[in-house]
Symmetry: C2
Subunit: 342 residues, 2 copies
DNA sequence: CTGAAAGCGCTTACAG
DNA sequence: CTGAAAGCGCTTACAG
C-alpha cells in the first residue's frame, strides 16, 4: 500500500542529484542563488521521482502552514460554494489548501475565535467576503498575528494587494436604469440593513439613476429591510398598500425580491403586468421561480479566483510599480419580471 | 504582536511542571500510563498557560495531519454548506480542520487527484456524501493510502464505523403515502438517474406504498430524469400530455419538482388544484416558491455531525461490542403543493 | 554559488 | 510510571 512505501524526501533528491539538501531546498523555493546547470539537474531528479515537499515539514520549519482560510458569515450557500470554487481554481496545483471558517458576527467571541484559529493553525492567509470583510477590528487582529488577508468588499477599505472591490453601485444603477427605460417613474427600493456597506452602495447607485432621469426622489419609496425573505415581503406589503403605490420595486437582494413576489401574490397583483421587480445576486431561485426574476449578477467565482491570486502572489516590499485595485462590475440579467408600467 | 511573542511549547510546559516532555506528550495524548497526580499537575500548567500543541509539529511526527476532507460532487450548494456546518459543529474545539475537495466524477483523473491530495496532505480522514460515497474504487484507493473515511449513503456499502446511512426509501414512502391518503390513485414518479443509488431507494419506497394501498403500478407513470430542473420539466410535460394524466407527481428531488411547476404553469395546470406535487430535499426554494412545495427533508446537518464523530472517534481494534449502524430517517414537510385530486 | 550544523515542536521505540 | 535520545522532513543563519 502507498503508505508503506516510504515517501521520497529532500534527502533522497539531494543524494540522487549529488548536491546538498540545502541546494535542493533552494531549487524548490526558487532561490535566485543557484547555478542554472545545478537547478536543471535537480529539477530533473525531482520530476523523475514525482517529488513534492512535505507540507507539514515545511510548515514546521517556516512556522506557517500552507492553509488558506475562507472566513465568512454570508448566509447564501450559493455565494459560499461558488466563491469556494473560484478560490480552489487557483489553489489547484499549488500546495495550498482551503479550510472553511464560518463565523457568526453577532457572537461576542467571534473575533477571538478567528484569532485563535489563525494563530494555532498558523494560517497563511485569509479571504474575507462581506460582511466579515468590513470588520476592521478583526482584520487588524488577523494581520497582527502575521496572517495575510484579502477582503472582498463594495468599498475600498484596504490597500490594493489586500482588496477585491465590487462595483455594487454600478449594478444597482443598471437595475434602476432598466426600470426607468421601461417607463417607470414611481420606483421603490427596498434596501438592506444599514450595517452592510453593500446596502449603501446599492442605494447610492439607485439614487444616481433617479437624478439621471429627472425622477424626484420620494423618500417614502425607500424602505429598509433585513436582506431576508420575510422582511422583504413585509416592506412590499406596505408599499403595495400605499394610495399611490410604486409600479416597480428594486430590492437589495434576491431573497427580498422573492418576498415581494410573495406579497404581490397575496395582494392579487401580477408580476410583471402590474408590478415590475428587479433583484440582486442571481441566486438559483431567480431562474426557477415564475416569472423568472430579472436581477443583478456579480461574478462570484471570478472574484474568488482574484482573491486567491492576490493572497498567494509574491509580496515584494521592493515593488516598483504600485499595484492597481482589482475590481469587478456586476451585470444586469433581464428576465421576465420587468415590463412597462400598467 | 502575537506572532512576535514566542509561542509556548511542550518544553516550556515540561520545565514548568517539572517533568520530561515525554510525560507532557503522554498527558496530551491521553495515555493511560501516567500517574493521576502527575497528570493533574501537568494539566494545571497547560491550562494556566493556554497551551495547545502545534498541529504542524504533531503532523510531522505522526506522519498524518489533523485535516478532515469533505470530498463531494453534490451540485446543491445548500447540501454542501449545511453538511459543512454539521461537520464543523463537532470539529470545533478539537484540533481538526476541514478542507474542501470538490470533485468531478466524470473526469478521468479524479480518483488520482483525490489520492494525491490525500497522500500529500496526509489527510486524517475523508467524509464522502453521495454520489462520491458510492465509488468503491475511490474508497479503496483512499483507504489504501492509510486515510480513514466515512461514507454517507442511502444503502449500506461499508462497515458501521465507516457509514452514515439514510433511509431514502422511507422518505419516499412518506411522500407517496401522503398522496394516497389524499385520495390520489394515479400517482406519477419522476425518478433520478439509475447511476445514483438514492434514485433506486426512493423509487423502491414509492412502489411499496402503491402495493400498500392496492394501487396498480402503471409503468408509464414512472419516468427517469437527470435530477435537474430542465429534465424534470421535460418529463412533467410528457406526463401532463397523456390522455389519462396523473393527478399527482412525486419527484426524486426538489429541482425536478420545480421543473414540474414550470411545466404545469405553461400547460395552464394549477397546483395543487389540478395537480399535486411532492419533492425531495427541502431546498430553500421549496419554501419560497408559490405554492410552497411539500417535500421530504433529510437532517443534513445532523448527518454531517454523525459523520465527523465517526471519523474522529477512537478506533480500537479491541472493540468488544460491535458498533451499530448510524442511520437517519427523512421527514415529510407538508406545505401547499398537495391537495385531494380534482 | 554551495554545504555542515542546528533547529522548528512534536512522538516513538527503548530503557529503566 | 517516567526519561534521554533519535527522528519526522523541511529551512535558516552562518561560513566558505
Amino acid at each position: 500500500m502507498s503508505r508503506s512505501k516510504r515517501k521520497i524526501t529532500i534527502n533522497d533528491i539531494a543524494r540522487l542529484s549529488g548536491v546538498s539538501k540545502k541546494t535542493v531546498s533552494r531549487v524548490i523555493n526558487d532561490s535566485p542563488k543557484v547555478r542554472e546547470r545545478t537547478r536543471e539537474k535537480v529539477m530533473a531528479v525531482i520530476e523523475e521521482h514525482g517529488y513534492t515537499p512535505d507540507p507539514q515539514a515545511r510548515a514546521l520549519a517556516l512556522r506557517r502552514s500552507s492553509l488558506i482560510a475562507m472566513v465568512y458569515d454570508n448566509p447564501s450557500p450559493q455565494y459560499v460554494v461558488t466563491m469556494l470554487r473560484g478560490i480552489l481554481d487557483v489553489l489547484e496545483g499549488t500546495s495550498f489548501q482551503l479550510v472553511m471558517k464560518p463565523v457568526d458576527r453577532r457572537s461576542d467571541s467571534y473575533r477571538q475565535d478567528v484569532l485563535r484559529f489563525v494563530e494555532q493553525q498558523r494560517i497563511f492567509g485569509a479571504i474575507m467576503p462581506p460582511s466579515v470583510s468590513e470588520d476592521q477590528e478583526l482584520i487588524d487582529m488577523v494581520a497582527g498575528a502575521g496572517c495575510r488577508h484579502v477582503r472582498i468588499a463594495s468599498v475600498v477599505l484596504d490597500t490594493p494587494e489586500n482588496t477585491v472591490k465590487t462595483h455594487d453601485s454600478d449594478g444597482a444603477a443598471q437595475a434602476a436604469r432598466h426600470l426607468a427605460e421601461l417607463g417607470h417613474r414611481r420606483i421603490a427600493h427596498i434596501r438592506g440593513p444599514k450595517m452592510f456597506r453593500s446596502s449603501h452602495e446599492r442605494l447610492r447607485g439607485f439614487k444616481e439613476v433617479l437624478v439621471e432621469y429627472g425622477i424626484k426622489l420620494d423618500s417614502k419609496l425607500i424602505l429598509e429591510a433585513g436582506y431576508t425573505f420575510d422582511t422583504g415581503a413585509q416592506r412590499a406589503t406596505e408599499l403595495l398598500r400605499m394610495k399611490n403605490p410604486p409600479t416597480a420595486i428594486f430590492t437589495g437582494n434576491d431573497e427580498m425580491a422573492l418576498g415581494v413576489y410573495n406579497a404581490a401574490q397575496k395582494a392579487g397583483i401580477r408580476i410583471p403586468d402590474d408590478l415590475s421587480v428587479v433583484g440582486f445576486d442571481d441566486t438559483p431561485i431567480a431562474s426557477r421561480i415564475w416569472p423568472n426574476l430579472s436581477t443583478v449578477r456579480l461574478p462570484i467565482r471570478e472574484m474568488g479566483k482574484a482573491a486567491a491570486e492576490l493572497l498567494i502572489r509574491d509580496r515584494q516590499p521592493a515593488r516598483s510599480s504600485p499595484l492597481p485595485y482589482v475590481s469587478f462590475s456586476p451585470s444586469l440579467v433581464v428576465r421576465k419580471s420587468t415590463a412597462p408600467p400598467p
